[in-house]
C-alpha cells in the first residue's frame, strides 16, 4: 500500500471505526478502498491489527483516537 501513499509508511486519518478509517484513507489516497474492502466488508485475506492486537477482521471494529491500525495479510495456521 506504500505506493499508494507516495511511500509514506504510516499516515494519520480520522475515523471512529475501521470502515471510516478506510473511507478517509480512500479520500486521501484513491485506490486504498479497492485494496482493503470488498463491498461492505473487509476484503478476504486482509487482517486488521489495532494497537498491536489482531481484531475480528471487521470494518465495524471501533477505533479509539490515537489508535494505531495495521492492515496486514491474514494468516491461517495448523496445529495437531
Amino acid at each position: 500500500m506504500r505506493n499508494l501513499t507516495g511511500g509514506e509508511e504510516s499516515v494519520t486519518v480520522p475515523g471512529a471505526t475501521v470502515r471510516e478509517v478506510i473511507d478517509n484513507l480512500e479520500n486521501r489516497y484513491p485506490g486504498m478502498k479497492a485494496r482493503l474492502r470488498e463491498g461492505d466488508r473487509l476484503k478476504p485475506g486482509v487482517a486488521v491489527y489495532i494497537n498491536g492486537l489482531l481484531t475480528r477482521g471487521s470494518i465495524l471494529e471501533r477505533v479509539d483516537a490515537d489508535a494505531e491500525i495495521h492492515f496486514l495479510p491474514a494468516i491461517s495456521g495448523g496445529t495437531t
Binding site: E61, I75, S76, G77, G78, T79, T80
Partner: protein, 751 residues
C-alpha cells in the same frame, strides 16, 4: 512450572473425557464409519508432474461389473476466478476446484483426474486403471529458484506477479511479492561492527498425520448432502464443499468423526467433494479413502524454500539491522505461507532497521497446506542460525544475545504492529537457568545448540452450548474437533466457572447442524477461543442459575451470589443451595437451563519458545543423534498441563524429523521417489530421548484464564537449534535441510 493456586480445575490433570473410547478401539474415526448400501470410491491421479489433459475416456471403467459411477472435472460446476474466505484464509475458487480435479492441466504427480465408485474398493481401484487419459507431457519445474527464472516453464498462463499492489505485465511463476520495512536498514548495517549473511535451503516436508484423509458422503433426493469425515473443521468443510459444488450450505451437514492428526493438513478439502459427487451420481453413500501414497502425493505438504538472511550487530551484541529474502514454493497453486514466514522471522527481537522480502512461487508439486506455524520454521532456520553465528563471532553466550535483543511489550514488530504482553524473555531466562543448559558439554563430537521461535496464534469464531443436568453435571456441546485432548481443556474452563469437577462435564463434538459456527481446530486457537466460548457459556449458566435461586427464595437477583459451588443470598434471608441441588430444582423454577457462549476474540496472544538440544555426530556415518532435548515455551496459562506438554513434545519431535531426515525426494520427471513411511522417514521412538517440556506462564490478557495457543510454536526452533548444536559439535554450519547423514558427510568432506 508455576502452578497457579487460585484455580481449582484449571491447571490440573484429569483423565481426558474421550480417553476410554480411544484406548479401547471404540472411538470412531472417519474411515471407521459404516452405513448400509455403502459404495467405495477411489481416485485416479496424474502420473505426470506437468501435463496438458487432452482427453479422458471413462467408458471402459464404467463397463467393469461392480462400477456404479465415474466422475471427472466435467462433473464440477464451472468455477469463477473469485476470492472467497473459507476458514483457512482467502482462497481462489478456480484453483480450489482445479485442485479437486485437474481440468485442463495436471500440475503435479498425484493430481486427481477422475474417481470411481464401486461395490468394493478393489473393483474401484481396478476401474481406475481402465480410465484412459491422454496427456501431453510438459517439462516440470520443481525448485523455487528455477521457477523464478524468466525462461522457466509456466504453470499458469494467467498468473502475473503482484508486487505491493502493482500487477506485472508478463505471466510468471511468481504469484506475489510482499515486503515489510522498518527504519533504515542501510544505515543500520553501516552502524554494525559485524555483518553476517548466509543462504539456506529447506526441503518439502509433510505433516505426516497417521490417519489418511477419508470421507463418506450421501446425497438425498431432496438435495440434502451429508458428509462424515475426519477434519480440523466441519464448518470449513461445509463452506468449501458448498463453494466447489455450488450447493447451499443449508443443504450440507458435515459430521466430524474422530480425527487421527492434522497439524494443518486437514483443513483443505480433497476427497470430500469427490465423495459428494460420486454419491450424487450413484444415489448411494460413497466412502473414499486415501492410501498413504495418495496422502504424500495428493495433499498439501509444507513448502521447500530458499532463504537469505543478513544481520548486523554491534560488538556489544545489539542487532542494528536485519534483512531477509524468502522464496517459498506454493506448489501447484498460489498460497504458500511466505506471508506468515516473513512476519515471524525476526519477531523475537526488537530491531530498529529491518527489510523483509517474500515471494510466493508456483512449482509442479502438490499445493502446499498449513503445517504447524506455517512458514515460521523455514524462516527461523535462517535467522536463528545467523544469530548464533553472530553470538559466536562476538563471544557472547547465545541465550545472552537473545536477551540483549529480546522483544517485549511495546516494541514494534518488523511488519508493523506493536507487541502486547509477550513472554519471550521469560522463556530465554528459564532456558538459561535450566539444568540442561548448565550441565557440562565438552565431549568430542558432542554439541549443544539453542534457538528460539515465534508464532502469532489466532482467535476466530467459536460457539458452545451448555445443557444443565438435574444431577449437577453439564453437557457441553462444541464444534471443535478434538485432535489432542481439547474436549478436556475446553470442559475444564466451563468447570472452573461453575465450580464443578472436570468429570462433571460431558463434552460432545457435534455436526454443523447442531452447534453454532466454529472455525477450525488450527492456528493454536481451540483451547483459547472455544475455551473462551465455554467460559462464556458457563457464565451464562451461572447468571441463569442465580435467577433461579432468586426465584426460589423470592429475593432480588442482586441479592444472590455464587461462590465455592454454593449459591447464597446476601442481605437479609440466610439461604444457601449448592449448584448440584439447584440443578435438581430447575423444572419448578422455570424449566431447563441452557447456556450459550459465542466469541470471535481479538486477543489471541503470540507464543514464544526457546529450545536447547544436545547432539552427537558420528564422524563415520554422518548420523546425528539427539541426546537431550529441552523445550521451553510460554503457554500463557496451561489449562491441562499434560496436553500442553504433549503439544510441545510432539511439535519439537516433528521439528527434529524436519531437521534430520524428512524431505520429499524428486526425480527429474517430478515424481516423488519416497512416497511411503519407509522412505519418508519420520522419527520413531528409537531415534529420540525423552523431551523435557518446560511450561512458562505469562498470562495472555486477552483470555479470562490467560491462555495462549500452544500447538504451533514448538516446531519453530528445532531445525536451527540442531544446526547450531551440529556446529558446536564439529565446527560446520549446516545451511540445508534436512541435515541427513549424506549432507553431513558431504559437509565434512568425506564424500
Amino acid at each position: 512450572m508455576t502452578e497457579n493456586k487460585e484455580y481449582k480445575v484449571v491447571g490440573t490433570r484429569p483423565i481426558r473425557h474421550d480417553g476410554v473410547d480411544k484406548v479401547t478401539g471404540r472411538a470412531l474415526y472417519g474411515a471407521d464409519f459404516q452405513i448400509a448400501g455403502l459404495l467405495h470410491g477411489r481416485v485416479l491421479r496424474s502420473p505426470h508432474a506437468h501435463a496438458r489433459i487432452l482427453s479422458i475416456d471413462t467408458s471402459r471403467a464404467e463397463a467393469l461389473p461392480g462400477v456404479k459411477g465415474v466422475v471427472t472435472a466435467a462433473d464440477l460446476p464451472t468455477a469463477e476466478d473469485r476470492i472467497a474466505d473459507l476458514g483457512e484464509g482467502a482462497v481462489n475458487l478456480k484453483y480450489l476446484c482445479d485442485n479437486i480435479f485437474a481440468s485442463d492441466k495436471a500440475l503435479y504427480k498425484g493430481h486427481a483426474v477422475a474417481a470411481v465408485a464401486a461395490t468394493n474398493p478393489h473393483i474401484a481401484e481396478e476401474a481406475c486403471t481402465l480410465i484412459d487419459v491422454e496427456y501431453e507431457v510438459l517439462p516440470p519445474v520443481l525448485e523455487v529458484r528455477q521457477a523464478m527464472e524468466p525462461d522457466a516453464p509456466l504453470l499458469h498462463e494467467n498468473i502475473k506477479t503482484t508486487s505491493m499492489g502493482e500487477t506485472a505485465e508478463e505471466p510468471s511463476n511468481v504469484a506475489s511479492h510482499i515486503q515489510h520495512k522498518l527504519g533504515d536498514p542501510e544505515k543500520g548495517f553501516a552502524e554494525a561492527d559485524i555483518v553476517i549473511e548466509r543462504d539456506f535451503v529447506t526441503g518439502t516436508v509433510h505433516q505426516g498425520y497417521i490417519e489418511p484423509h477419508n470421507a463418506t458422503a450421501h446425497f438425498n433426493q431432496d438435495g440434502q448432502l451429508t458428509i462424515w469425515c475426519s477434519t480440523q473443521g466441519a464448518f470449513t468443510v461445509r463452506e468449501q464443499v458448498a463453494e466447489i459444488l455450488q450447493h447451499p450450505i443449508s443443504k450440507i451437514k458435515v459430521v466430524p468423526m474422530e480425527i487421527g492428526g492434522g497439524f494443518g493438513g486437514k483443513i483443505s478439502v480433497y476427497i470430500k467433494p469427490v465423495a459428494a459427487l460420486l454419491a450424487k451420481k450413484t444415489g448411494k453413500p460413497v466412502k473414499v479413502l486415501m492410501s498413504r501414497t495418495d496422502v504424500f502425493e495428493g495433499t498439501g505438504p509444507t513448502p521447500a524454500s530458499y532463504i537469505r538472511v543478513k544481520m548486523g550487530a554491534t560488538k556489544a551484541g545489539k542487532i542494528t539491522a536485519a534483512e531477509a529474502y524468502l522464496a517459498f514454493e506454493a506448489g501447484a497453486y498460489p498460497g504458500s505461507p511466505v506471508g506468515p514466514g516473513a512476519m515471524c522471522i525476526f519477531a523475537p527481537y526488537n530491531i530498529e532497521n529491518v527489510i523483509i522480502d517474500g515471494y510466493d512461487v508456483v512449482v509442479n508439486k502438490p499445493k502446499t497446506a498449513p503445517y504447524r506455524a506455517p512458514g515460521a520454521p523455514n524462516a527461523a532456520f535462517g535467522s536463528e542460525t545467523v544469530l548464533d553465528e553472530i553470538a559466536e563471532e562476538l563471544g557472547i553466550d547465545p541465550l545472552e544475545i537473545r536477551l540483549i535483543n529480546a522483544a517485549k511489550e511495546g516494541d514494534r514488530r518488523a511488519d508493523g504492529p506493536i507487541h502486547p504482553r509477550i513472554g519471550f524473555i521469560e522463556t530465554v531466562e528459564a532456558a538459561k537457568s535450566h539444568p540442561h543448559y548448565t550441565a557440562p558439554n565438552g565431549k568430542k563430537h558432542h554439541g549443544r545448540g539453542i534457538a528460539s521461535g515465534y508464532w502469532f496464534n489466532i482467535g476466530l469464531e467459536s460457539s458452545v452450548t451448555i445443557n444443565v443436568n438435574a444431577d449437577g453435571t453439564i453437557n457441553l456441546i462444541e464444534g471443535s474437533t478434538d485432535i489432542g485432548g481439547t474436549r478436556s481443556s475446553i470442559a475444564m474452563q466451563a468447570a472452573e466457572v461453575l465450580d464443578i469437577p472436570a468429570e462433571s462435564v460431558n463434552p460432545s463434538v457435534v455436526d454443523t447442524n447442531s452447534v453454532g459456527y466454529t472455525a477450525v481446530t488450527g492456528g493454536s486457537r481451540t483451547t483459547y477461543a472455544t475455551g473462551y466460548a465455554a467460559y462464556e457459556a458457563a457464565q451464562d449458566v451461572k447468571r441463569k442459575m442465580i435467577e433461579r435461586a432468586a426465584k426460589l427464595w423470592e429475593v432480588d437477583e442482586s441479592n444472590v451470589q455464587f461462590a465455592d459451588g454454593v449459591f447464597s443470598s446476601i442481605n437479609g434471608k440466610e439461604e444457601q443451595i449448592s449448584f448440584r441441588d439447584l440443578c435438581g430444582r430447575l423444572g419448578e423454577t422455570g424449566g431447563p437451563v441452557v447456556g450459550s457462549g459465542t466469541v470471535n476474540p481479538g486477543g489471541a496472544g503470540g507464543a514464544y519458545a526457546t529450545h536447547i538440544v544436545d547432539v552427537v555426530v558420528d564422524e563415520e556415518t554422518g548420523k546425528v543423534e539427539v541426546l537431550r532435548y529441552t523445550a521451553v515455551q510460554d503457554a500463557g496459562k496451561a489449562i491441562h498441563p499434560s496436553y500442553v506438554e504433549g503439544q510441545i513434545q510432539g511439535g519439537a519431535v516433528q521439528g527434529i524429523g524436519w531437521a534430520l531426515n524428512e524431505e520429499y525426494i524428486y526425480n527429474d520427471e517430478g515424481e516423488m521417489t519416497n512416497a511411503s513411511f519407509l522412505d519418508y522417514r519420520m522419527p520413531t521412538c528409537l531415534d529420540l530421548p525423552m523431551i523435557d517440556a518446560v511450561i512458562v506462564e505469562v498470562p495472555n490478557p486477552g483470555h479470562p484464564y490467560g491462555v495462549r495457543g500452544v500447538g504451533e510454536v514448538p516446531i519453530v526452533p528445532p531445525m536451527a537449534a540442531i544446526a547450531n548444536a551440529i556446529y558446536d559439535a564439529i565446527g560446520i554450519r549446516m545451511t540445508e535441510l534436512p541435515m541427513s547423514p549424506n549432507r553431513l558427510l558431504k559437509a565434512m568432506g568425506k564424500i
